[in-house]
C-alpha cells in the first residue's frame, strides 16, 4: 500500500496498524526504513521544510515501485508512507517497509523501495534556513 500524508505520522504506529492486516505466522521478516527531518543540513540550521510533489504522478510512481519490488522478491506485502507539505524538524518524512518469509528479501526490497523513491519519485524539498529559503539540489541524481 502507498499513502501520502499532509500531517506528521508515527511510523511505529503505522507499522503496528498495517501489520495487523497481514496473515499471522506467515511472515518471518520485516525490514523497514524511516527517514525523518534533521534540524541541520549542509552545515546550516533548518527550521522548516516544504515538500512539493506532483499529485497523481507521485502516487502512480510509488505504486509502481511497490509492484516492481513484489516481482523481484518473494514479498508478502510492502508499504510506503510519505509526507508532503510543511514539515518540522523531527517529523517523519518517509517510511518504506517490506515483509517476507526470510530476511534477504525484506532487506533487498526495503532498500530498493527507498532508493527508487529517492532517485526518481517527483518530490522537491525547499528548506527554510537562517539565510533564507533554498531548493535542495539533487544529491542522488536519477540514473546514477
Amino acid at each position: 500500500m502507498i499513502e501520502l500524508r499532509q500531517d506528521n505520522f508515527d511510523p511505529w504506529h503505522e507499522l503496528n496498524r498495517y501489520q495487523q492486516n497481514l496473515a499471522p505466522g506467515k511472515y518471518g521478516a520485516c525490514c523497514n526504513f524511516v527517514g525523518s527531518m534533521r534540524d541541520f543540513n549542509e552545515g546550516d540550521v533548518v527550521a522548516k521544510m516544504t515538500l512539493e510533489h506532483y499529485p497523481g504522478m507521485t502516487e502512480q510512481f510509488l505504486q509502481k515501485i511497490c509492484d516492481e519490488a513484489s516481482e523481484k522478491w518473494p514479498l508478502l506485502d510492502c508499504l510506503i508512507i510519505h509526507r508532503v507539505g510543511d514539515i518540522q524538524p523531527n517529523d517523519s518524512i518517509v517510511l518504506t517497509a517490506a515483509w517476507s518469509a526470510h530476511r534477504d528479501a525484506s532487506f533487498a526490497a526495503c532498500r530498493y523501495l527507498i532508493e527508487e523513491l529517492k532517485h526518481r519519485a517527483p518530490f522537491w524539498k525547499k528548506e527554510n534556513t537562517s539565510t533564507g529559503d533554498r531548493w535542495v539540489s539533487e544529491n542522488t541524481p536519477p540514473g546514477s
Partner: protein
C-alpha cells in the same frame, strides 16, 4: 491539438507558471512543448519530462490532450 503543461518546484518559480495550456497544429515532441510553453529555446540537460505522469525522453511525441510536465531533479537526500 491542445496540450496541458505543468512546471514544478524551482522551475515553476523561474518560469512563473505552474499550469498552462498550449495549442499546436502537429504532434510536437516534449522538447517542442518545452520551447513553446517556457519561451526558452533549449532545455537544460538536468530537466526531467513526463507525459501523462510517466518519465519520457525529450524527443518523445505528445498527443492531443496529453499532460506534459517539466521539473528539476528530484531531491533524494544524501545516502
Amino acid at each position: 491539438m491542445k496540450i496541458n503543461v505543468k512546471f514544478f518546484a524551482s522551475l515553476r518559480e523561474q518560469i512563473g507558471q505552474s499550469d498552462l495550456s498550449i495549442s499546436c497544429d502537429n504532434a510536437p515532441t516534449a522538447l517542442q512543448v518545452w520551447q513553446q510553453a517556457s519561451s526558452q529555446p533549449s532545455m537544460p540537460a538536468n530537466i526531467l519530462c513526463a507525459i501523462n505522469m510517466e518519465y519520457v525522453e525529450p524527443n518523445t511525441l505528445v498527443n492531443d490532450g496529453d499532460e506534459v510536465a517539466f521539473f528539476p531533479p528530484v531531491t533524494g537526500g544524501q545516502q
